[in-house]
Structures are given as structure tokens and as C-alpha cells.
Symmetry: C2
Subunit: 153 residues, 2 copies
């Protein structure tokens, strides 16, 4: 069931959503990285085991893509498209491995109406991706363009 559409005016700083869990799967990690980031640490379990991480780790871009999928699936914004303008301060802070169980917190950190186009604005959320041991694997700021209520972009 589609949730009610959210508009920029519906959002307040400090509001949070929880996402996940994302369970990491070795076959999917290798499949993604074979296509988009084919380095031994991401696609070759034997070479990865001998390397500095002692085993296969996910491409950081794969983790980012899975976090996006979770965001879409959550459907918290209803029919309002999630139109990314910008990402800032994206850090891959801890390796992600097969079997990891990632949870996500999305927190509104800024809500800003456009000065030049008063029908829209920018929502900034901090995304924090944490593994089953409480270690932050990845975090970033996600700036999304959103319409104000009564408008459509």
C-alpha cells in the first residue's frame, strides 16, 4: 500500500526513519562488483583472504546502491520521487562482509525552501548504516529535491 505523499513542508529537522535490515550475500557482492568494481578484494575470495581485510568485502558503491533500494522500498514519501541532487560527506567507515546485517537510520538534518523557485526546496538527510555489531559501516548526507505541498515537480 502506497503511503501518503510527503512534501517539503511535512518534514522537520530531527525526524527519523529506520530502514533495513539488509543482509549481505556473497554471491550478490561478487555479482555487483564483477560488473561495476572488479577489484580482487571485491570479487576473488581467495585473493581477498590473503589481503589486508582477510576476506571478501563489498564494493562501497554496492552498499550505497542497496541503501538506495531500501529507501525506495520503505516508501516513506509516498509518490513523491526521491530525486537526489547531491551527496556529501560519504564515508565508508568499516568493511562490509557477507552475512553482515545492516540497519539504516535516516534523519532529517535540514529543510530549505528554494529562494528562486518557491514551489520546491531541498531536504537533507543524514544516512547512517550500522552493522550487527553496532559499527557504522557507511554514512552520508543525501540532498533531495522536494516539492512543497500543492506542487508537483
Amino acid at each position: 500500500m502506497v503511503k501518503p505523499s510527503l512534501f517539503l513542508d511535512d518534514l522537520t529537522i530531527g525526524q527519523t526513519w529506520e530502514g533495513g535490515p539488509i543482509i549481505m550475500n556473497e554471491a550478490d557482492m561478487i555479482r555487483f562488483a564483477t560488473e561495476y568494481d572488479p577489484q580482487p578484494m571485491h570479487i576473488d575470495p581467495k585473493a581477498a583472504a590473503e589481503g589486508r581485510f582477510g576476506g571478501l568485502i563489498a564494493s562501497g558503491w554496492h552498499v550505497a546502491a542497496l541503501v538506495m533500494r531500501d529507501f525506495v522500498d520503505a516508501g516513506a514519501f509516498g509518490d513523491t520521487p526521491l530525486l537526489g541532487l547531491k551527496v556529501d560527506d560519504l564515508e565508508w567507515r568499516h568493511p562490509v562482509r557477507a552475512g553482515d546485517r545492516l540497519s539504516i537510520v535516516r534523519e532529517v538534518v535540514d529543510v530549505r525552501v528554494s529562494r528562486s523557485k518557491p514551489d520546491r526546496g531541498v531536504l537533507t538527510m543524514r544516512m547512517t548504516v550500522t552493522n550487527q555489531d553496532g559499527e557504522v559501516a557507511m554514512s552520508f548526507l543525501n540532498l533531495i529535491q522536494m516539492p512543497l505541498r500543492g506542487h508537483q515537480l
Copy 2:
């Protein structure tokens, strides 16, 4: 043929590499977005044609993943792993559509030896992704951990 490995000390501010071309393909755009960013603007040509972009556009994360693949394939750093620590100032500035031909410029903008661990440091590159019409589709800063010559991380 693998190019010689590069180390942090080999790199200088202003050094550039060109990458691409990446030719965008509608089937691949839909396949990526179906798995990682299943919004109508990315997976449904008919809905996308009626929306604000007047046609299907690539998921921004897909473009980022393709730029990573191009970076790995270019092999400019030889066997030195491309270990992303951080991305900053990532902007999706122009929609990317099927048939677009993207070229990439990677420019060294900072080279910094770690104060606490003198065997390594951080390379910062500005990645600029331009389409066939000279429009910048995407740009970001990519911070990569690299060893100094004679070391291995």
C-alpha cells in the same frame, strides 16, 4: 597489460587522466534501477515520458557505479587497490539518458601523507563526468587511501 603500480608519492596536484567513453544503454539502465533504485523515472519508459524529464533517466547510483568500473578498467594505478575512503560534493547535475556518451576527467586535487601513519596517505581526485553535448552530468571528489612507495597496505 598491467600498468606499473602508482604510490602516493608518484602523484602531483593537477595531474589528470581521461576516462570513458561510457555509452548508456536503456536495458542496462532499467536492469540496474530495477534492482537498486526502482522508481518510475528509472524503470518505466512510459511513466518517465509523461514525467518531468520527458523520458527515462539513469539512476544516479548507476552512473556512479559505471564511473567506478571505468576507473578500475583504466588500470592507471596498476596493482595498487582503489580503496575509497570518502566521497564529497557529489552532484548529479544533468539527467543521463539512453544513448548518452559520457567522458570522464579525473584530476588530482590533493595529496596528503597521514600524520599518524607515515606509510600511507590520502589522494583526492575530482571526477567530472561530461556528456556528448559538453554538459556536466555528475561530479564528485573521491578520497582514496594509498600507500607510499615501498609500502603495502
